[in-house]
Symmetry: C2
Subunit: 209 residues, 2 copies
DNA sequence: TCCCACTGTTAGTGAGCGTTAACGTATGTC
DNA sequence: GACATACGTTAACGCTCACTAACAGTGGGA
């Protein structure tokens, strides 16, 4: 992860602002003029850098999903042999992503179907492989968990970790480090609980009721 | 809960199909002609039943948020005096909602900003009160949890429970009752874990790392 | 100096789409 | 029978908006 010091190129500026705007008001809710205005040029000037509005979305979504997958692969490779460490690292990486790239998270599961078939297939493929990474890690730690339940649990934990964009003002919530710690506890607790009481007992899972 | 036996009115048919289409392709991604076709009439015939496309979305979102809030209020009232029972019942109700009304869930946090100011205020108000219901219940069961963390945890659990729409085909996942049980365990486990290790320890929360 | 690639501008075009207008028909009521 | 109401239809309007055309300034390399 080479930390870059050079100034962002125009393409990158555009992608960043487009991501923010798309996340705020949806793909169809944002006009090219607004995206242009956000980077100081106006409207059709964007077409010097991208083939069209669709191309920006495609590049964003493909980029996110591939980056997420590569990060996951790297982390599981580093933790090879220790399922616990792999799962911890996956959770850690996903928390970083959720806290640092809120707009991208939102886009990721909101505007996927706007893509051309080929791009959507690309994104879906990366997503699927990322999920499988998680499912393997989870089942490595909790071998008792059936595959379907592990997969559903992984999706649920994604929903849990990706919940930060829904917290309105970033004031009334814990600071970044506290938030990361809380999400870590929530995710571990959820998975731990999923692995218990797995024997078809679908009535009172917890305390009372 | 009066189970209705009479046929759904045309308005209700339209709302149901509109909800499904909006959830699938987004508010702007669906044309009025498609909505009309989905109920067997064509395009502008919808205007005999609704003032416009916006009005359909507004009625949907206001309806969902108010229904959710009323259900929560009823459940906490029924469980008055027992914080544990209240939280259990809230979780149960939200799971039912998530499993039975997937399209509405999706709409609920995706298309809110398309609404007129007055309607959006209505929805936001219901949402806020619903969250506060949960925060009170959570803090009743786990008094050690600070308010900001309880609120963040509640949002996270919403994300967890609302994750079912993201599961592609409804075939590769557990059946309805198994899924409900799994979500119950996940939610309880997450909140339980949030309440522990609350003393600013933001490093190793769980097992290894 | 000439050239050309790069990056931007404004004006215009064409398609999509929400909405309205004008009109037709069945049903129940006086 | 006359009439109002409810519920549809098709045709057309007008606005928004992505995209293109035509044009212009800037800067580096031969």
């Amino acid at each position: 992860m080479a930390t870059r010091t050079d100034a962002p190129t125009r393409r990158e500026q555009i992608l960043k602002e487009a991501a923010r705007l798309f996340a705020e008001r949806g793909f169809h809710g944002v006009g090219v003029d607004e995206i242009g205005a956000a980077v100081g040029i106006s409207g059709p000037g964007l077409y010097r850098h991208f083939a069209g509005k669709d191309a920006m979305l495609a590049e964003l979504l493909v980029g996110i999903s591939e980056q997420l997958l590569r990060g996951g692969e790297r982390r599981t490779a580093e933790a090879a042999g220790s399922p616990g460490a792999a799962l911890d690292s996956l959770i850690e990486g996903h928390i970083d992503f959720a806290l640092d790239d809120r707009p991208l998270i939102t886009l990721h599961d909101r505007e996927l179907d706007r893509l051309r078939d080929s791009d959507r297939k690309l994104v879906r493929s990366s997503q699927r492989r990322y999920v499988e990474l998680w499912v393997s890690a989870v089942r490595g730690v909790y071998p008792g968990l059936a595959e379907a339940e592990a997969r559903a649990s992984v999706h649920a934990v994604f929903g849990l970790l990706n919940s930060t964009p829904h917290l309105g003002r970033p004031g009334a919530l814990p600071g970044r480090e506290a938030m990361a710690g809380l999400l870590r506890r929530l995710a571990h607790g959820a998975l731990e609980a999923a692995s218990k009481g797995d024997a078809g007992d679908s009535s009172g899972s917890g305390r009372s009721q």
